[in-house]
Amino acid sequence: MPVIYEFRDVSYTAPPRERGEQPVRILSASSFKIGEGTNVVITGPSGSGKSTLLRLFNRLADPTSGEILYRGNNIAEYPVQELRRKIGWVPQVPVRFSGSVEDNIRLSFKLSREFRIEDSDIESRMHELKEMGLLTDGIFKRKAIDISVGEAQRMNLLRAIALTPEVLLMDEPTSALDPDAADILLSQVEKICSQENLTAIMVSHRPEEVMRFGDLVLKVNCGEVREEGAAGG
């Protein structure tokens, strides 16, 4: 299995928020590899740096030292906007923009002029996304602020994969959902990852999700990242 991500001695120190505060070291000298198509779960106690680690994958933050390779190339040398378009992002709390659910998903296609997409390609991708069955046609037409949290998180998932990324990053995507909605979302994530051939990296603190989803588990604790290998599932 080809390696998609490699972390080499990656450390991250959070800059101080107030003058006079000390910088806080969150990750220290972490090294690991992720194979293409792997389902990875990042887990660990609250405040251990799970979300920070996730943000390094698409350069929402950069490591203080060490290097991260994406398909063998240092991600710091990759044009950042191009890199991010290959990596989908699902936030912890679903983000809703104004307009309909469909407008929210279409937003992905028209965010930057440098990456112009043909109208016919947009329409065929929208058709594929609708066919996935995550949301009904009726929901696509509704205003994004009027749908439930579970539906909004599925909308966020569709928006994240609209640009056919290679990697899907999810920051505790089920934390705002009740157990049933969380279970549905996780099943849909599994289905999409296999259909779209995605490498999925998810932050979770729910043991049942870690067991079920993680081919590879990265446990973050006191700044250390430990690989726990296949957890089951």
């Binding site: 928020r17 350069r59 929402l60 950042v80 906007q81 930057s112 990456f115």
Partner: protein, 258 residues
């Protein structure tokens, strides 16, 4: 024409004593601030009046512009002090935007409206520049503070847009729009009620000093339009420059500044 001499000014101080007395008896605790503010305003305006006599007499364009540049710098420091959580490098951003917006408004009025370099005298530039800078200062501190709080509240939204490949300007465009709109509200409100429930200072001063009210109204309108145009320009430039402070060159939101 009503003549106001220094004796009249001294008698007008009675109103300040009334305000201080009312504050004392009602326990507002504003007495010291009122006294200091009054003393400062008397001193500052007297010095200004005294200096203006010489500045008008000299009437050097270089000196006039130099004075306005320094006024814009003082305004930048004042604006930064009004921001709850100032961002690093705020002074140059505020200075450039207050300066550029004010010069735009002021030179449009002097060169285009008053048509001609003969309008660029100390007698027009200094008072117009002062008004322009003062108004822009309020707007820019409101806008930058609002921009920061919008970024703070919408940080998840901004990062979703960044993750989809948007650049920092695009990802924070809604925050910038909200900030500029909020900062323009006081000026738009002033336009709406101009002459209805508010007669602005310029017009009051002119009417009191014996000028035809219609002439005073025309001056007032030109000044209001100058403030609107210059302020919008300053706010747009200011938020554009502020975006660069809250994001890294790699389009990363600097959460530690929020």
């Amino acid at each position: 024409m009503v003549i106001i001499d220094w004796m009249n000014v001294a008698i007008a101080l009675g109103l300040i004593f009334v305000a201080i007395g009312l504050s004392y008896f009602n326990g507002f605790g504003l007495e010291r601030d009122l006294a200091v503010g009054t003393i400062r305003s008397v001193l500052q305006l007297s010095i200004l009046g005294f200096l203006l006599i010489y500045i008008f007499r000299l009437d050097s364009l270089v000196l006039n512009i130099g004075i306005l540049v320094v006024m814009a710098l003082i305004a930048a420091f004042t604006a930064r002090n009004r921001i709850k959580k100032p961002f690093p490098g705020a002074i140059p951003v505020l200075w450039i935007s207050i300066g550029a917006g004010s010069f735009f408004g002021m030179f449009y009025v002097t060169l285009v409206v008053m048509s001609g370099p003969e309008a660029i005298t100390a007698r027009t530039l200094i008072p117009l520049g002062g008004m322009m800078i003062g108004n822009t200062l309020n707007g820019i501190s409101l806008a930058t503070e609002r921009f920061r709080s919008e970024l703070e509240h919408r940080s998840d939204q901004v990062e979703v847009l960044l993750s989809l490949g948007a650049n920092s300007a695009r990802a924070s465009a809604d925050c910038a729009r909200t900030a500029v709109k909020a900062a323009m509200i006081p000026t738009i409100n002033a336009l709406m009620v101009l002459g209805l429930i508010q007669i602005p200072g310029v017009m009051v001063g002119q009417v009191l000093s014996g000028i035809d009210p219609m002439v005073a109204a025309r001056y007032q309108l030109v000044i209001m339009f100058m403030i609107v145009g210059g302020k919008v320009a300053a706010l747009i430039l200011g938020t554009m420059l502020t975006v660069k402070r809250y994001f890294t060159k790699d389009h990363q939101l600097r959460r530690e500044l929020l």
